[in-house]
């Protein structure tokens, strides 16, 4: 069993390399991914190793990156598209929703689109406009797409390979604020077997409240659980990993035990994944619920300027406040309608 300590960014790089070595039909497309190795260096060294036709610097056009990827899929390739930043995905939205998501269904299974779309997403990096979005809900709402998000180097390494190996189109959301987080990666795992991509992971066990999240907030959730423990509250933290479909089995098992659910994400509250999970768990765990599911999320606003992002993004204190609510303990909105 070989393992190494590496950053989340390096882990994706290593996973891409392994996937490209395993299958010569895997081909990367994106802006600045070749010579430069990507603005976050995620694809560093790959063009030198695999050549310009397997790691393609494309002209500046997201719609074309996705549209040509569809064509490449027809031609039997396995494209891995990089969208440089979350906020730049929208020109490609039409190709994704109208074509990528529907082709398999439209052609009664004749055409497959085994495409992976890598999207650095989320805030917490003090960036300019359009560089900190969380657009995952647009895609979990679109049938025909798989949507995943990783929170740590091991999952990054494993899940990128599984996503590439999948015959369905997969949106792979990378939390850019965690690109530099280090962790151990066991290097044997590959795209075969599909262990990580389809399931949620219980990060730490607990008995009083279930805290569900994904991507960059998993780390914050773990910190919240630590503080809660010192206050006598036992939190079970779950990293969803798969956003579409959601592993309701794991979450249901947990909430049946705890009776209380808090969901957190950076994306806006309305129509976000929290709403989907709250509804799904209420259906499955109604008679176990001691309190309505609580959501701690970004507000229904465009992502704010850098100096204000700490107010918008759920942080340790806001998570703990949400946990207090779920436990019927005094909290910021005690006594109001939402208590």
């Amino acid at each position: 069993m070989t393992s190494a300590t590496m950053t989340l960014g390096r882990a994706i790089n290593a996973g891409l390399r392994k996937a490209m070595e395993a299958d010569e039909r895997v081909i990367l497309l994106g802006e600045d991914i070749g010579k430069l190795g990507g603005v976050y260096r995620i694809t560093e060294g790959l063009q030198a190793e695999f050549g310009e036709r397997r790691v393609m610097d494309t002209p500046l056009a997201e719609s074309a990156i996705l549209g040509t990827a569809v064509g490449l899929a027809y031609a039997g390739f396995r494209p891995v598209c990089e969208i440089q930043f979350d906020g730049f995905i929208y020109p490609a939205f039409d190709q994704i929703v109208s074509q990528v998501a529907r082709l398999h269904s439209r052609t009664a299974g004749a055409v497959s689109v085994p495409l992976t779309i890598r999207v650095p997403f989320g805030g917490g990096i003090g960036a300019a406009e359009h560089h900190s979005d969380s657009p995952e809900a647009y895609f979990t709402h679109t049938s025909g797409l798989r949507v995943v998000s990783v929170s740590n180097p091991q999952d990054a390494y494993t899940v990128i390979q599984e996503a590439i190996a999948s015959n369905d189109p997969v949106l792979f959301f990378e939390p850019k604020r965690r690109y530099h987080t280090k962790g151990d990666v066991e290097l044997e795992s590959s795209g075969q077997g599909r262990h990580a991509m389809d399931s949620a992971r219980v990060v730490s066990e607990g008995t009083d409240v279930t805290l569900v999240t994904y991507g960059g907030l998993v780390q914050v959730a773990v910190a919240a659980a630590e503080v809660a423990k010192s206050e006598g509250v036992s939190i079970e933290v779950i990293d969803l990993r798969s956003l579409s479909p959601i592993d309701f089995d794991t979450v249901t098992r947990s909430v049946t035990k705890t009776g209380r659910l808090v969901i957190t994400h950076e994306a806006a509250e309305s129509g976000g994944l929290g709403a989907e999970i709250a509804a799904g768990i209420t259906e499955r765990c109604f008679y176990s619920l001691e309190h309505a599911p609580v959501r701690v999320t970004g507000f229904d606003i465009p992502f704010p300027p850098a100096k204000l992002e700490k107010h918008h993004l759920p942080d340790l204190d806001r998570l703990l406040d949400g946990i207090d609510r779920a436990l019927d303990r005094p909290n910021s909105i005690t006594g109001t309608v939402f208590a």
Partner: protein, 360 residues
């Protein structure tokens, strides 16, 4: 092969024989000196802003080093009621439109998503989505047509932007409706790490004909030529003859932004070549040859640049952090119940910490 239009050579020599000279016949020495000062000042803003980013006062800065003539020359040709739709790099144009130095920096300071009121300066605030502004400019031009006004919409974008669908669509609309819009493309040769050859196998100016509008390719580092062709394009639009595509050949001497490292993808030798064609030194050479740029005049220009830089720095560090409740302001024009509930909840949440701070 399209002729590159030029009035000043890279060495600062002005042959004076081109027909294009007519378009700038009225530009006297005093005005040329003013153009020189403009370019020196905006280069200084760039330098200072880059330093401020390195000092942690700005999150990011996109320099326009090397592109001063393209922006100053064209911007100084505009009339007061023309309207500009630029990208995120048109800080020199904004400077000419009267935007204060500190207001150029607000977006990069992270205190707001825009630095000025577009209607005060008749220039839209920085656009980060590549090419989106070209459609806005075309639409604005349609509005001008509807109102029978003789103002013009001008849109700035780079070579990379010409690959985006929005830009092609904007040119289609503009040509179809003979809209009074000028498409000003600064071909600075690089889109982050991608050379222009990746975006186009032919000169960008040749697209114009394909879309059904005239195109002109100008030496973007020649402030006089840039002014001349821009004036011509504006006049065409005002006459009702529709859009023009200008390709200004220039070079991005600096990085894409302060987060970029160009040594990873381009050659120092290319930079050295383009240093020979610097827009500011060529105008300086010309003005010295006519006796306009005296030592005194040079000192005065540098003093202006120093003042601009100092004001910039002072203004920047004085920008107050935004109030947390401003998160919820201006998302809508009209009241929105859902958002108001969120605001109330967050306000109660913050009050807990304010109360603790007061107590302690």
């Amino acid at each position: 092969m399209t002729q590159l239009v030029q009035l000043l050579t890279a060495d600062g020599v002005r042959p004076g024989t081109s027909e294009l000279e007519l378009a700038v016949a009225d530009v006297d020495d005093r005005q040329l000196l003013a153009l020189y000062e403009d370019m020196v000042a905006v280069r200084r803003i760039d330098t200072e802003a880059t330093a401020l980013q390195r000092q942690g006062e700005l999150g990011l800065w996109p320099p326009l080093l090397g592109q001063e003539a393209s922006q100053i020359g064209s911007a100084r040709a505009l009339a007061a009621d023309d309207f500009v739709f630029g990208s995120y790099r048109e800080n020199a144009v904004a400077y000419c439109r009267g935007v204060a130095g500190v207001d150029l920096l607000r977006v990069w300071r992270g205190t707001s998503q825009s630095g000025w009121d577009p209607f005060e300066h008749r220039m839209a605030t920085p656009q980060i989505i590549i090419g989106a502004q070209t459609l806005h400019a075309t639409g604005y031009a349609l509005g001008l047509q509807n109102d029978g006004l003789d103002a013009v919409a001008v849109t700035y974008f780079g070579d990379g932007a010409t690959s985006q669908g929005d830009v092609s669509e904007a040119m289609v609309f503009a040509a179809t409706f003979r809209a009074p819009v000028v498409f000003f493309c600064q071909n600075n040769h690089w889109a982050i790490s991608e050379p222009v050859a990746l975006q186009s196998k032919d000169q960008l100016v040749h697209r114009a004909a394909g879309f059904g509008m005239p195109g002109v390719q100008v030496d973007g580092n020649d402030v006089l030529a840039v002014m001349a062709v821009t004036r011509q394009a504006l006049e065409r639009a005002r006459r009702g003859d529709g859009p023009t595509f200008i390709e200004a050949i220039t070079y991005r001497m600096g990085p894409h932004t302060t987060a970029d490292d160009p040594t990873k993808y381009r050659d120092e030798s290319e930079l050295a070549e383009w240093r020979e064609r610097d827009p500011i030194s060529r105008l300086a050479a010309y003005l010295r040859s006519t006796g306009t740029l005296t030592d005194e005049a040079q000192a005065a220009v540098e003093a202006t640049a120093d003042r601009v830089a100092a004001e910039l720095r002072a203004g920047l560090v004085a920008i107050a952090d935004p109030d947390p409740m401003s998160l919820f302001a201006h998302v809508y024009s009209e009241p929105h119940r859902g958002l108001e509930e969120q605001r109330d909840r967050y306000s109660r949440y913050l009050a807990m910490f304010d109360a603790a701070a007061v107590r302690s």
